[in-house]
Symmetry: D2
Subunit: 166 residues, 4 copies
């Protein structure tokens, strides 16, 4: 199985849209998306660890890759018929252990609930079995002018199998 | 009054250690530190607003400038007798309104309480009177090896006048 | 003289458009713009020095502040009548000495020549008298679609007094 | 062939040290290293394109991944017996075409020559067949104190098969 393959026990059958040498979109294990990344120079600071703001970059890469894997692309949402984007409204970050240069990390992401234009997401950054940082966020789907707007039905249908059971 | 001056109604008399053309350290109004900054290209993303992770950079600049203004410098704490640093353990971010290219912003910072090696800080980013983003953080003073360690007495004495009354 | 004041021996009289507590726009000494900045956590990497890409951020802040000081704002150029921006086409960077956390730096900028839609700029980053990094860049004025377009006459007239004598 | 495999017609046989779900180290085609990456929100600016400094981040990720693939790790070089790092001394960047959100890019890297403590590297960033940005850099191998120091023999022997023929 390549880096881009989908471990998909939901049976929804998302195929990787590009070859094995494309940048990874991560993979699903059940409803949990996994996104692997490497810690580079740019991510660290003089104290020897990953700078605290950079986990928000990692978490966003993971959310975007999750969306890409189920068929949402920012550029098409922004420029296409729907003219929309997602913005984070609230985040709670809990830094438990530091990451360092060269570490291979995995961000685990679940989208939990949709309600109107709001969307809740839980994320955790691991190094192997060690939990490093967690993030609980509230996102909003917005128009290009920044106003909240319920996402179109096709989006909700695509993401529904991955949400929390209710 | 220059950009580097201290509006100090606590009477603790911190003088700006450098000339008016030095990078600003911000200023105090009572126990609230104010740090001005400009939104540049690097801070924005394709959706036209400041990228969400970059507020953590802004908030850190403000906390560091506050420390500098009362006489703490990261490099001296790290390399000096105390061999210490500060790390953020938890942050809650609330994004209320977006900032855009060219905006002049001010980050307001109060350090609220110290307990053992832990320190609580409240921050808010404004554009004029508009509140854009708030952050509530728990920091820890740590050794160079990352272990929590109570800050030295001289630090606590220096920051005490700016903490919440209890 | 405040941080925002203009040392202007060209007699062109640009006044600082905002109070002393606004984020600095730097100042001119002759045709050389000076922009002060502080090295923060975000700028450093685990090797203890400023990460090489971040000087491009510093140089851009300086170019934008130069423009702001003579009356150009990115947001107004982009959204206004002219619908334009500037993009860097080529840069040569020479890293001579490293900067470290807490350093106070000054970026010196001269715009040298305009020709059609192209513009040449020379920049140098100093820590006191020590020259740390130089950059020689070719910029282009472009439309919002990214095509080269000669800047409007009013811009050329505003910047002309600061260009190299020819 | 997975993302991490080595297309190695030099017969030097570097195996990927980790599973297919690890972050990619790219792959070689002859002596040209290929590193794939995705453009995320964090990489773009309000003008809709990738911010110019961020290509230096991309180029560094590619150089580090090249090193990792042939067996050099920054953390081990820094903390281990050799106590060394690499620093960029000069870069020439040529921005030919912009990249945008969601783009899948590939950075191609060749290390060209070693001489004493100096090392020359050529890099190019592609979107499919389109050449977007090139970089020609001079790096130096340095001690932890920042002084130039010839790399150890084992490093030179490992990289020699990938250098330019002379």
């Amino acid at each position: 199985m390549t880096d881009d393959a989908v471990t998909d026990d939901l049976g929804t059958g998302h195929a990787a849209p590009s070859g094995p040498q494309a940048p990874t979109m991560g993979w699903f294990e059940g409803r949990v998306h996994h996104y692997p990344l490497r810690v580079f120079y740019e991510d660290t600071d003089f104290s020897g660890i990953v700078y605290y703001a950079n986990y928000l970059r990692f978490f966003e890469r993971a959310r975007s890759s999750y969306f890409r894997l189920i068929g949402f692309e920012h550029s098409k949402l922004w420029d296409g018929e729907d003219q929309m984007a997602f913005a984070i409204r609230k985040v709670e970050l809990d830094y438990k252990r530091p990451a360092r240069i060269d570490d291979g990390l995995v961000v685990q992401t679940t989208y939990d609930r949709f309600k109107g234009a709001r969307l809740w997401v839980s994320q955790a950054c691991y190094r192997g079995d060690e939990l490093l940082v967690t993030a609980h966020s509230e996102a909003a789907s917005i128009t290009r002018q920044g106003r909240p707007k319920r996402p179109p039905k096709w989006m909700i249908e695509k993401i529904a199998p991955y949400l929390e059971e209710t």
